[in-house]
Amino acid sequence: MDELVVEFLTESKEMLDTVENDLIALENDPSQSRQLIPAIFRAVHTVKGTTGFFGFSKLESVAHVAENLLSALRDGVIPLTAERSTLLLRFVDSGRKLLQNIEQCGAEGDFDFSELEERLTAAVSNRADGGAASAALIPATAPAVARPAEAAAVFAPETAVAPVPAQAPVSAPVTIEEEADEAAAPEQRTDAGDGGGGARKGPQSDGTVRVRVEILDKLMNLVGELVLARNELLELTTIHEAEPFQATAQRLSLVTSELQEQVMNARMQPIKGLFNRIPRIVRDVAFKSQKLVTLGMEGENTELDKALLEALADPLTHLVRNSVDHGIETPETRAQLGKPLEGHLLLRANHEGGQVVVEVVDDGAGIDTDKIRRKAVEKGLLSAERAAQLSNREALDIIFLAGFSTAKAVTNISGRGVGMDVVRSNIDRIGGSVELSSTPGQGTNVRINLPLTLAIIPALIVISDEQRFAIPQASVLELLCLGQGGSHSEIEYIHGTPVYRLRGKLLPLVHLNRLLGLDKSGEPAAAREVGATIVVLHANDSKFGLVVDDVLDTVEIVVKPLSRQLKRLAIYSGATIMGDGKVALILDVHALGRRGGLAAGAREHLFAEHAGAVVAEHDEKHAIVLFRGPDDARMAIPLGVVSRLEEIPAKSVQTIGGQSYIQYRNRILPLARINDVVVERRQAPRLADGANENKGPDLVHLVVLADRTRMVGLVVDAILDVSDESLAVRGPSSRGGVVFTALVQDRVTEMLDTEIILGFAGARA
C-alpha cells in the first residue's frame, strides 16, 4: 500500500481515538467543553480534510455532517446532549469501519451511512426539540461549571434514545481529564499540516520519530542474534585465556546487554494506548446496564512490550465489562446499601520487581465465595467436604476453572466468571498470571502479572537422553535430586504411574524421555532413575515433577518461533540457539502436563493440596505439620501450604521496624512469630518477647508457608511431626488466629489460620 495512505490511515485512526476520548471526557465533565469541543472539531475537520485529499468520499461526507454538528456545538448554538454525543460516537465507529476497509481492500466498501448522516444533520436543526425536551448538558450560552450531581440530572433521556430511565454519566476522574488535555494538544499541531496530505510542520520535533513496527521487530531479532553470538563468544573465553581477548569479550558482553535493554525499551509502549479504549467500554456498558460508574486510572505511563500489550487487550476488556456489568450494583441497590451512588472502577498499572502488574479494582458487590463453593459441588468439581475446607482465596480460584465458568449458572452467582478461564488462559499464554481477590459487599480486585518481554527469557537447561531442552524458568518451582539420603527419596509406582513423596505429599511425575519417546533403551526404569533430577513445574493449576537425566544451568535464551509443521506437535513452544551454536527445543510446560495425563485429575488435586486434605481419597485424613508454640502449646497447619521446614541460625534473623526477616533462597523472607499470629483472649503481658529473642537458642525452627505469590516463615519452638490425622474430634477456636481445635495424637491441638500467617508477607511479592 502506498506509504502516504498508510500514514493517512494511522493518523486518521489516532484522530478518531482522540474524538472518542474527548467526547467521553466531556460527558463526564461538561465544564471541559471550552477546551474539548474545539479540539474534537479540529480533529474531525482534519479527518475530513485528509479523506477529501485521498478521495474517500463516504468518510468525507459523513465527517462533513459531523463537523457541521460540532461547529454548532462549538459556537454554542445548540447544547451537547446525550443523544448528540451518541451520534458523534457512532460517527467515530463508522469512520473506523471505513478506515479498516480501506486498510484491507484499499477502498471504502459499500457501507451506507445515509441514516447516520440524516440524524447528524437533524441533530443540528432540531434545536427546539433538543433544547426543550432535554436539559442541556452544556448550556448553550455560557459554559457552566457543572457539578457531577447536575451532570447526572442533565443526562435526561431524549425521545430518540432507548428508554433508559436515568442515563448514567461516566464521571471522569482527574486522570482522564489530563489525558484529554494532552490528547488535544497534538491536534493543534497536526492541524497546521492538514490539507497538505500528511505534510507536517510546526512543533512536531519533540524528540520523537515514528518508526515502523517491522523495523523494531527486525532490530529485536538482530539483538537476539547478537546475544547468541555473545553467548558463544563467552563460551570461548573459557578455552582461550589470553588477557586482551578476555577483556574485549567482557566489554562486548556488556555492550550487548545494554543494547538488548535499549532495544527492548524501544519496543515498550505505555499502557495508556490500551487504557484509552476503556472509558468508551465503561460508558457503553454502564449505559446499557443503567449503572453509574466513575473510572479512575493510575500508572497509564507504565510501559510494556508491544506484543504483550496486544495480548492484554482482550482479557482487560473482558474484566472491565465484567466489573461494570456484574460487579458494580445499580444505583438503587447501592443506595440501599449506603454506598455512594456511583460505583468506582480503577485501572492501575505499575512495575513491580521485573514484572508489570495491571489491576482492575471495583467497589461493587464482590463475589460470594459460599455460592461458588455450592456451585462447584453441584457441578461435581469438588466434594462437599473439600469445598468446605477451601479458603476464600481458593474458592475464588474456582472461577477460573473452565467447566465452571462456561456454565450459565455462574451468572446467577454474582455474574462473575463467564469466560474467566479464557482470561486466565490468554494471560497464561504470554507467561503471566491472574489473581482474584474479593470482599463480598466491598468489591473485587483482579490482578494481572505480566513479564516485561517475551523475546528473551531465562530458562533452565535440562538433559534427557543426551539431548538438551530449555524450560522457561517462570514455570520451575524447585529441583529435586534423586538418590540422596532420606527414606522417601525414591520414585514409587502406583499401577505403573510414577509418583514421588514430596514433603509427605504425592507429586505426580512425568518422565521426559518417555513422554518424548526417546526412551528406547529398554533398561528397567529404576536403573535410569539413579542420579536423575525431578524438576517440579507448575502449569495451569497443577503441579507435577518432570524427571530428567540432568540439569545444566539457567541461561538467558532467545525464543525463536518454530516452523508450522512443528507447531502442530504442540509440545514445544519454540527453539533457541545455545552457546555452542546448536539448537535446543523449548518445552511447553502446559503441554507437558496435558500430555502427561495430568490435566484431568490434577485440578481437584490442587484444591486438595491447598486445603491440606490428603491425596488418598478413601480415608478422610488430613496431612498436617505439628509443631510446638510458646507455652508448650501444640499447634498445626495443613501441609499443603507448607513449602519447607527449615532450621536457620538465629543470628541470620534481621529485624527492621519490628518485623523480622531472613535472607532465604535469594529473597527476603518475612518471619511471623506465633505470638503475632494468635491473639490471646486475655491480653497477656508481652514483656517476655524481647528478652527471648536475645537469649534464645542458636537455631530457629521455621515452617515456610507459601502460596502462589507469598512466602512467610513461621517461627516455632520445635517441629514435632508431619502426619496424616483424621481431625474428626474438633472443638471451637480457642483464640484469634486459630481456625479450630482438634484432638491430634490424643492432645488438643490448635489449627492456625494460614491466611493470617501468609498475611505477614505484607505487600505481595
Binding site: Q467, S563, Q565, L566, Y572, A575, I577, V583, A584, L585
Partner: protein, 159 residues
C-alpha cells in the same frame, strides 16, 4: 559439487521455443531430482542437527543456519527410500517453501541446469502414487530423466 555460489541467480528467461528455467539438481539414492533454483536459498554442507522428538519421521531435526533455525527434511525418508548409510553425510539444500525455509537433506549435489520448458512433462501416471504426489513433473534430458520436486508438498512432512 559445482556452482554452489550461483544458485540464487536463478529465474526465468524467455527465448525461442519456450521459457528457460534453471534447476538445481541433486541425487537421493538412485533418483535424480531437481528444484527450480529460484526457490533455492543456498546449499550447505552437513550441519549437526538437533532431533525433534515426536515429529514426523521425515523431519530430521533443526539446524542453526547463521542464527536462523531451520527444519531439515530427509528426502530419503520423505520419498519412501532406503535409509542413508550413516557414514554418508547428507548435504543441505535450503529452499523457500510455503511453510517457510526448509532444508532438504540430499545425498549429493549436482549441476545447475538451464532447461527449456519444452522438455518438461507431467509426471507419468505409472509412478507410485506417493512419489507422484511429491513431484511437479519430469524433465526429459538426453541421457536420463530429471524429477522436479514439489517442495511445498515435500515440506508438509505428511501427505
Amino acid at each position: 559439487m559445482a556452482t554452489m555460489s550461483t544458485l540464487s541467480a536463478g529465474g526465468t528467461k524467455s527465448s525461442g521455443a519456450g521459457a528457460i528455467r534453471h534447476y538445481c539438481t541433486f541425487w537421493v539414492e538412485s533418483l535424480y531430482l531437481g528444484v527450480e533454483s529460484i526457490r533455492v536459498q543456498e546449499v550447505v554442507r552437513h550441519i549437526p542437527t538437533t532431533r525433534v522428538p515426536l515429529a514426523p519421521p521425515a523431519a530430521k531435526g533443526l539446524i542453526n543456519l547463521r542464527g536462523q533455525i531451520v527444519l531439515t527434511v530427509d528426502l530419503r525418508t520423505r520419498l519412501g527410500l532406503s535409509p542413508r548409510d550413516e557414514t554418508l553425510l547428507p548435504t543441505n539444500v535450503v529452499v523457500q517453501t510455503d511453510d517457510g525455509v526448509v532444508s532438504l537433506l540430499v545425498d549429493d549435489i549436482d549441476d545447475v541446469l538451464d532447461l527449456d520448458d519444452s522438455v518438461f512433462e507431467a509426471t507419468p501416471s505409472t509412478l507410485t502414487a506417493h512419489l507422484r504426489a511429491l513431484l511437479l513433473g519430469v524433465c526429459k534430458l538426453e541421457k536420463r530423466l530429471l524429477l522436479v520436486l514439489d517442495i511445498d508438498k515435500v515440506s508438509q512432512l505428511e501427505d
